[in-house]
């Protein structure tokens, strides 16, 4: 068996070409992941940005005696279908609150129906040709336009897309995170302190250790089953409440906080501990006054990341009933509440096309909050990280 040098060099070229091909192939895989991300974000922005604009039309509102009983009578027949029913419904209330309105007539910018909104945004709309003509006329007269949708941030959920907003879900999310943090942060940090600073190296300690890693891998929906069985059925926490949801998510975030807190604690060098012991401090004094403060930036970073994950979690909350229709923000931890991702889920299952853009807009808001949280975590880590 003999090969000429030419053969070998040809073979070598082939092998090197193959090597280069592999390099670009694997680069392609990475690129593909990046492309997915860009496509996904672009898709959400395109779908969601229109929801930050809302159609308003200027109509003559007639606060007559009749309108206080039959709100439809307050506006002229040709624009009746174009005005949001949610606006009309509130007319009697407003007249009651402000009796001076009775008998007056004024031009007002009012919230338009969601189909008008869709039509003005250039999307598919089920408006009849007649109504489209009216909207066109109003637009030409400068009496119909898109304005910034403040209601999206100040209203609660609604069955009318043009009235639906994120406010009550945002309040619910904040309350839920308060409960989650109040539970998971102390318990998580204490567990980490125990495992890193106090625990003897015995079987039980190793069992806790293995167990925490397992807990991190359990599907989130099973935490929902736990919350349903323990917090709601056993301890009688109110269904759909921020209390039950927060505790459930607290158990779920626990492993993240424990694992990051342990890493932060173990990065504190032993010389610090030895110095403290040397001047007669007890173990607890050493931990409380020296080790914990030094590892706090790392622990906080981990907790923020855990909170970000809890903020985006939906599945366990669905199981414990946090997808209820909540038009008004909850005022206590035991009231029925909903959260941002659950609100997104609820809107995603609505048939009206205006809800699609609202869902995407909700997603944009949620992602912005998550990115802010994670960026804060990275910033904190960069700023306070101690290299020993």
């Amino acid at each position: 068996m003999s090969q000429s040098l030419d053969d070998i060099s040809r073979q070598l070229k082939k092998r090197h070409r193959k090597s280069a091909r592999m390099k670009w192939l694997s680069f392609g895989a990475l690129l593909l992941a990046g492309v997915f991300l860009v496509l996904f974000l672009a898709d959400m922005l395109i779908k969601g940005l229109p929801a930050f604009q809302q159609a308003y039309i200027q109509v003559e509102v007639n606060y007559s005696e009749r309108a206080s009983e039959l709100p439809l009578a307050a506006v002229e027949a040709d624009v009746r279908e174009l005005v949001s029913r949610g606006y009309l419904r509130l007319i009697p209330n407003r007249m009651e609150a402000n009796p001076d309105l009775l008998g007056t007539q004024r031009m007002e910018w009012v919230l338009a129906d969601d189909e008008v909104d869709q039509y003005l945004q250039g999307a598919d709309s089920s408006l009849s040709a007649k109504h489209k003509a009216v909207v066109d006329r109003l637009t030409e007269a400068g009496r119909a336009e898109l304005q910034f949708n403040t209601g999206f941030f100040t209203n609660g959920d609604s069955k009318l897309p043009e009235m639906a907003g994120l406010a009550s879900a945002a309040v619910g999310s904040v309350m839920l995170l308060i409960v989650t943090l109040a539970f998971a942060f102390p318990v998580g940090v204490m567990t980490a302190v125990y495992l890193e600073e106090f625990a003897p190296d015995n079987r039980f300690t190793r069992f806790i250790d293995v167990n925490i890693n397992n807990l991190a891998a359990i599907p989130s929906i099973l935490f929902g089953l736990l919350g349903l069985a323990i917090f709601i059925n056993f301890f009688g926490a109110p269904r759909s409440s921020a209390l039950a949801g927060g505790l459930t998510l607290g158990l779920m975030t626990l492993p993240i906080i424990i694992i990051t807190a342990r890493a932060a604690l173990s990065s504190v060098p032993d010389s610090i501990r030895h110095a403290a012991f040397g001047v007669g401090a007890t173990r607890w004094q050493t931990v409380r006054d020296h080790v914990l403060p030094l590892s706090m930036p790392g622990i906080l970073t981990g907790s923020i990341i855990g909170m970000a994950q809890a903020l985006g979690e939906t599945a366990p909350l669905i199981i414990i009933g946090m997808i209820a229709f909540i038009p008004d923000a909850p005022t206590s931890f035991t009231q029925a509440a909903t959260v941002l991702p659950a609100q997104i889920y609820t809107w995603a299952s609505m048939p009206e096309s205006a809800y699609v853009e609202r869902t995407a807009a909700g997603i944009i808001v949620l992602l912005s909050v998550l990115i802010t949280l994670n960026a804060t975590a990275v910033y904190l880590r960069k700023k306070f990280e101690h290299r020993w």
Binding site: S26, L30, A33, I218, A229, L254, Y345
Partner: protein
């Protein structure tokens, strides 16, 4: 509202007792010390001793009362529990203050208590695991008392349908309910398989590039990008799958003459695969990076190309770690809920065609628990039986995955995994 006020009263009471204990304990110790007596511990330690002896009994009593109330719902009214817990705290405060003397070793007892409290906190995570196991197990056993276990594992028809009628005591209801979970398992398997077909090649290739080829600058950019991909909430992925990917797949299928359902298995599978890429790539990246450099150098010194070194030396060495990452990805895919709830079908369907709609275990859990069925009905309890299967399978996968990574770690003496 009632629960709210009771909880508020309790926490306010405990904080008040604690603050009182701290203030009184500290001032008593400070006074004694000012009198010139030598004390064993610092005033602060006596103060904390008083706090623990007042708030401790109150919290323990309240926790016990909550557990008793959980078992026997109307054993005693909630306000009585709070009142007696706070009363106990007050007695504890009195006794604790009385015990503050120069020879009391407050520091030592504080140290002991802290250790026990920390141990208690560490047990919470253990209790959580057992809580999940038992809460699921008990309800699952109730389910299997009503329905056959073998049919659940091997049956091919899943229609929990009208079993709520039987639970309501109605004649004839429940006869039509069938709990054969095989179609659910098949659907879960199909969607997981699609997800892994997307995630493993892309994830592992990306990891190879990051670990072996990427210049540091690119690495610094790519890592956060993949992390962002991992941080996107699943409900967002679900919306993306249902609104954008599914119609796209239907359109593509139609253009080649195939018929696809709008809730086909392909859309949630692909999107789930995208979601899992970062999990696989980041762990594989760590594993590939920790394959000893000496092995690469040895291989390159034999005249292999870079590709051959990676293929015949690095990857085989890293294989246990890559398999471990893949298994973790599988367990995540099996338990993933929101993507399938939003994008996969609701109809149990035993088919091998990914363009048809099919449902999964997690979808069935959600639909069983969000319907208006009675909690004790077989339809609701079936969620726990499915949850038990999910728990056992994911735990087993995780276990094997940990074993694999441990073997890799032991073989190459790597400590950072």
């Amino acid at each position: 509202m009632q629960t709210d006020q009771i909880l508020m009263t309790f926490f306010a009471g405990v904080i008040l007792l604690g603050a009182l204990g701290f203030y009184l304990g500290r001032s008593k110790a400070a006074r004694t010390r000012a009198g010139g007596t030598h004390m064993h511990s610092q005033p602060d330690q006596y103060a904390w001793f008083a706090v623990l002896s007042s708030a401790g009994p109150a919290i323990i009593a309240a926790a016990l009362a909550a557990i008793v109330l959980g078992v026997l719902e109307t054993a005693f009214p909630g306000w009585l529990a709070v009142a007696s817990a706070l009363g106990l705290g007050a007695i504890g405060l009195f006794l604790g203050l009385n015990r503050i003397r120069p020879e009391l070793r407050a520091r030592d007892s504080l140290e002991r208590t802290v250790k026990w409290v920390l141990l208690g906190a560490a047990s919470v995570s253990v209790l959580t695991t057992f809580g999940i196991l038992f809460s699921i197990l008990f309800e699952a056993i109730r389910f299997f008392q009503m329905e056959s276990f073998w049919y659940f594992i091997t049956g091919t028809e899943w229609s929990p349908g009208d079993s709520f009628l039987a639970a309501a005591g109605r004649e004839g209801g429940g006869d039509g309910a069938m709990f054969g979970a095989l179609p659910l398992f098949a659907g879960t398997f199909m969607i997981t398989a699609i997800a892994m077909l997307v995630a493993v090649p892309i994830g592992v290739s990306a990891a190879i590039y990051m670990a072996e080829y990427a210049p540091p600058v690119l690495r610094d950019v790519a890592k956060p990008v993949l992390e962002v991909l991992a941080g996107i909430p699943t409900v967002v992925y679900g919306f993306f799958a249902a609104i954008t990917v599914a119609p796209l797949i239907v359109a593509v299928a139609e253009s080649v003459g195939l018929e696809a359902s709008f809730s086909n298995a392909l859309a949630p599978g692909i999107v789930m695969g995208i979601m899992i890429i970062p999990f696989i790539s980041s762990l594989s990246d760590d594993v590939i990076s920790s394959v000893p450099t000496a092995m690469r150098q040895g291989s390159l010194a034999l005249g292999t190309t870079r590709n051959e070194t990676i293929r015949y030396v690095v990857l085989p060495a890293a294989l246990p770690g890559i398999i471990s990452a893949t298994l973790l990805g599988v367990s995540r895919a099996l338990g993933e809920t929101m993507i399938v709830v939003m994008a996969a079908g609701m109809r149990p369907n035993l088919t091998a065609n990914p363009l048809e709609d099919m449902t999964t275990v997690t979808v069935s859990i959600v639909s069983a628990l969000t319907g208006d069925n009675e909690f004790g009905s077989a339809a609701t309890l079936s969620a726990f039986a499915l949850g038990l299967v999910l728990f056992v399978v994911t735990l087993a996968l995780n276990f094997v995955s940990v074993m694999m990574i441990r073997r890799f770690r032991a073989k190459y003496a790597v400590n950072n995994l």
